[in-house]
């Protein structure tokens, strides 16, 4: 352990199991005042579980929990709050039906002497806080109406400004665009210098190395390494995370890559003149068989809406879609699916059935191919098991309720559900969000496989790395319009960012 101040929080020999699954096995963890502690590890390694123990979500674990040198035990999230611990969860946990201001003050709204909420004051203060963090929204608007990235920012802002002295951020940057990430990091560093302790979980190892003082690596429910950030580097961390032999993962592109010339293949999808009030202006493009089209843009550039139009969830005000030369106006997502389009939204909560077993989650989109009238559960299980195997979903048990998988593994299930019967066009929003390096690499290979089989793929992302690692051709969206297309040329992350 790095020499430093006396830890503010110390966990010893923490063990935690869910049913038969051991999520943590005798983990030690210490947090010093005024440090940013980076946490990395594969999907399902136990990062979120440990953090939830600290934040009082899981009260049922074994081991010692020492805060300020005294052994304690939280029985609830409220206990943790009272002790000055706040957490941004990996899964967005905002209240979509409440206003932005209410969300910012969730649980401690300013009240007057009589216990009534002071609405005006709350709205004003929320607005000020958010502005300080670079977010400009009407504090009285309904949170659920905002784009998911903005919701995430607001949740982060709420926790950062809650006055907590220990702040836990579980993959906070997954829905943020680069400038927002920069702002977040600046704020984190300021808070650290003011003495706040911060735990920061991310699958972006560069980010971890850049902001953390100390990095801890988890693997299979154990802590396998803890080191000062200055003393390590990316390959070493990846090796600690997933073992030897897989260090050469092609996950990031700091160097240039060369986009191939356009292929002479039939056009699968042609979009022309798509417009949607307040989000899209005259967007036209096409995708060919065996091609991966990347659509890059900052949060709020209209990609989410665009993807939903392609899948029949939103109707464009203007413009049209043609699949293999045939004009289509989808009246429902079912119509889009029948036309051979598959869709993975950016938020897995919207895509998955948490109370149902994994195999039902995987089979749902292809059920009509498997069975006509009667279900064939054994076929479903077999198909699901194959996908679980191919995508290395862990734990590899198709009977487990989906809610019991770790975040990254859930994300893989969302992809798995479309792969048993490959569609004609696959629309992926943020396909690698929340995935560890190994899983990201798996996804890259899967997409390349599908491309080789002649599928058309559209990848929409706010992460330049995702687009760069997958796409053959890239279009950049800015405020709802196509501003640039990259094809058959050299491109780098910087050039992509510049264009956006």
């Amino acid at each position: 352990m790095p020499a430093g101040l006396k830890p503010i929080l110390e966990l010893q020999e923490i063990t935690k199991a869910f049913g038969g699954v051991e999520a943590l096995r005798g983990v030690d963890f210490a947090l010093s005042p005024g440090e940013i502690h980076g946490l990395v590890g594969e999907n399902g390694a136990g990062k979120s579980t440990l953090m939830k123990i600290i934040a009082g979500v899981h009260a049922d674990f074994s081991g010692r929990f020492i805060l300020d040198g005294r052994e304690t035990r939280f029985r609830s999230v409220r206990d943790a709050h009272a002790a000055g611990i706040a957490m941004v969860h990996q899964e967005l946990s905002v209240a979509p039906d409440l206003s932005v201001a209410e969300n910012v003050f969730l649980g401690n709204q300013p009240t007057n002497r009589f216990g009534f909420v002071q609405w005006r004051r709350m709205a004003r203060e929320a607005g000020e806080q958010l502005k300080r963090f670079g977010i400009d929204v009407d504090p009285m608007s309904r949170l659920g109406d905002l784009p998911i990235g903005l919701q995430q920012l607001i949740e982060i802002a709420r926790v950062l400004f809650s006055g907590a002295r220990i702040i836990i951020l579980d993959e906070p940057t997954s829905a943020l665009s680069p400038p927002e990430v920069e702002r977040l990091f600046a704020t984190l560093k300021r808070l650290r210098d003011e003495g706040t302790s911060i735990v920061f979980i991310s699958h972006f190892i560069e980010d971890i190395l850049r902001v953390s003082n100390v990095v801890t690596v988890f693997r299979n429910g154990r802590k396998v390494a803890e080191t000062r950030a200055a003393d390590t580097n990316k390959p070493a961390l990846i090796e600690a995370m997933i073992g030897h032999g897989r260090e050469a993962l092609e996950e990031t592109y700091t160097h240039d890559i060369m986009l191939p010339p356009p292929a002479e293949r039939p056009v699968v999808l042609n979009a022309s003149g798509l417009s949607l009030a307040r989000s899209l202006r005259d967007v036209s493009f096409d995708v060919r068989a065996g091609e991966v089209l990347g659509i890059y843009g900052f949060m709020g550039c209209g990609q989410l809406e665009l993807a939903r139009i392609l899948f029949g969830k939103l109707k464009p005000d203007q413009g049209s879609l043609a699949i293999a030369g045939e004009q289509k106006a989808f009246r429902s997502t079912a119509g889009a699916r029948r036309a051979g389009i598959a869709f993975v939204p950016e938020s897995r909560r919207d895509m998955l059935f948490h109370q149902e077993p994994v195999y039902k989650n995987i089979s749902i989109s292809v059920l009509d191919r498997i069975s006509s009238l009667l279900l064939k559960p054994s076929r479903e299980r077999k198909i699901a098991a194959r996908q679980v195997d191919q995508l290395r979903i862990r734990p590899a048990a198709v009977e487990l309720d989906l809610g019991m998988l770790s975040g990254g593994n859930q994300q893989k299930v969302a992809l798995a559900k479309w792969l048993s019967y490959p569609p004609r066009l696959l629309v992926l929003c943020e396909p690698t969000r929340g995935m560890d390096v190994g899983a990201k690499n798996d996804v890259i290979h899967i997409v390349r496989d599908l491309r080789a089989k002649g599928l058309a793929v559209i990848v929409l992302s706010t992460e330049p790395e995702t687009v760069l690692s997958l796409a053959d051709r890239i279009i950049v969206l800015k405020r709802g319009a196509v501003v640039r297309e990259f094809s058959n040329e050299r491109i780098s992350k910087d050039r992509l960012l510049e264009a956006a």
Binding site: T15, A17, G19, G20, E22, R25, K52, V57, H58, D60, V217, R219, N220, G221, R222, V224, A225, E226, T227, D231, T232, A236, E239, A240, G243, F311, K313, S332, T333, A334, A336, R337, R338, A342, F343, P345, D350, M351, L352, F353, H354, Q355, E356, K360, I364, S365, L367, D368, S371, S372, L373, L374, L375, D401, G403, M404, K417
Partner: protein, 345 residues
């Protein structure tokens, strides 16, 4: 830095934290209603010698049959996290319609339109299906919440009933309906057999068909169902029609069972059917439960109603007791949902 040695060694069998408790918790929704049933049964059996007899068991079965038939369709609706408040009114209007198209005794003062029995039955079924379609249209195409849409339908169906009978009472229904509604075979009332078959049919559809799976998935997470490419509107529309048709069948047989068709005859069946489904443990939030739960719920209600008649209680108090038991069941329903959510955290 040190990289961990072999970390895939299976952990030594440390204490497996109360697996049974976890299972019990997640099954709470199914266990609680069953325990309620057993307790009620035990209580009444002890309190009254005439309760736990074969004869009385037959009574209970007959008493819950009409509710049972109506509750089949309602189970589909509630599994989708919707509600149908028009079932009793649709049952009523269908029962009245089938009588309206049957030749009545001359002293019945209704301007009815006599037809052959099969035609009367088909027309009545068409009527309830049509009303179900209107519900479906309002819910899925216009986007009126089912609570409000079916509230309106309740009035509409009551209005049609009123226009058809104009305050009179009709007695005759087609022979097939009379047979199924008020006669027995081998000592077992036909209506019990019909209810059992419909419940069984509903169970098979929900458990073994693709449509049944869709119903659960739409109820479990509607957004996800849509993003999986399911035709959510079609499924919601279908369950509204299924509900109306089940209510219609219950209404026709009910009319034969009661021996008359008149306005407001089924009013108590709305609450009874909802109670049966919810008391049985089907989640009001959708996606959890099923016909098995509904059957348990039916028996809880049946035993309660019947048992209260066997013990000496002020009949006004009975209403209160029924209400309290219902409340308890609702509390358990919501509580079970929370427990599940927490275990899935």
């Amino acid at each position: 830095m040190t990289s961990g040695e072999s970390v895939t060694v299976p952990a030594p069998d440390r204490k497996r934290p109360h697996r049974l408790a976890v299972m019990l918790r997640s099954q709470m929704r199914n266990i609680a209603p069953f325990l309620t049933l057993i307790c009620l049964f035990g209580f009444f059996a002890a309190a009254s010698p005439s309760f736990a007899t074969l004869d009385n068991l037959g009574n209970i079965l007959t008493q819950i049959s009409v509710t049972g038939i109506i509750a089949v369709g309602l189970t589909f609706v509630i599994l989708c996290a919707e509600i149908d408040l028009s079932i009793a009114a649709i049952a009523n209007v269908t029962g009245i319609a089938v009588a309206y198209f049957t030749l009545q005794e001359s002293y019945v003062n209704i301007a009815n339109v006599p037809m052959p029995g099969w035609a009367a039955i088909l027309l009545a079924l068409a009527l309830c299906a049509l009303l179900g379609l209107v519900n479906a249209f309002g819910l899925t195409v216009i986007g009126i919440p089912s609570f409000i849409m079916t509230l309106a339908m309740m009035q509409i169906a009551a209005g049609i009933s009123a226009l058809l009978v104009r305050g009179q009472i009709a007695y005759k229904v087609p022979p097939l309906v009379t047979t199924l509604g008020s006669t027995s075979i081998g000592g077992i009332p036909w209506i019990v057999i019909v209810a059992a078959l419909m419940l069984l049919g509903g169970h098979l559809v929900l458990t073994y068909t693709r449509f049944g799976r869709y119903v659960y998935m739409v109820g479990g997470n509607r957004e996800a169902a849509e993003y999986s490419g399911l035709n959510v509107k079609l499924i919601l529309g279908s369950v509204m029609v299924i509900s109306a048709v089940c209510a219609g069948i219950g209404g026709m047989l009910g009319v034969a069972h009661f021996g008359s068709a008149q306005q407001n005859e089924f009013d108590t069946y709305l609450l009874d059917s909802i109670a049966a489904v919810v008391v049985g443990g089907t989640s009001l939030f959708g996606g959890r439960g099923g016909i098995g739960n509904t059957i348990v719920g039916l028996f809880v209600l049946g035993v309660l109603n019947n048992g209260l008649d066997h013990v000496n209680i002020d009949s006004f108090l009975k209403i209160l007791i029924r209400g309290l038991i219902l409340l308890a069941a609702l509390v358990i329903n919501v509580y079970a949902q929370r427990l599940r959510e927490r275990t899935a955290d």
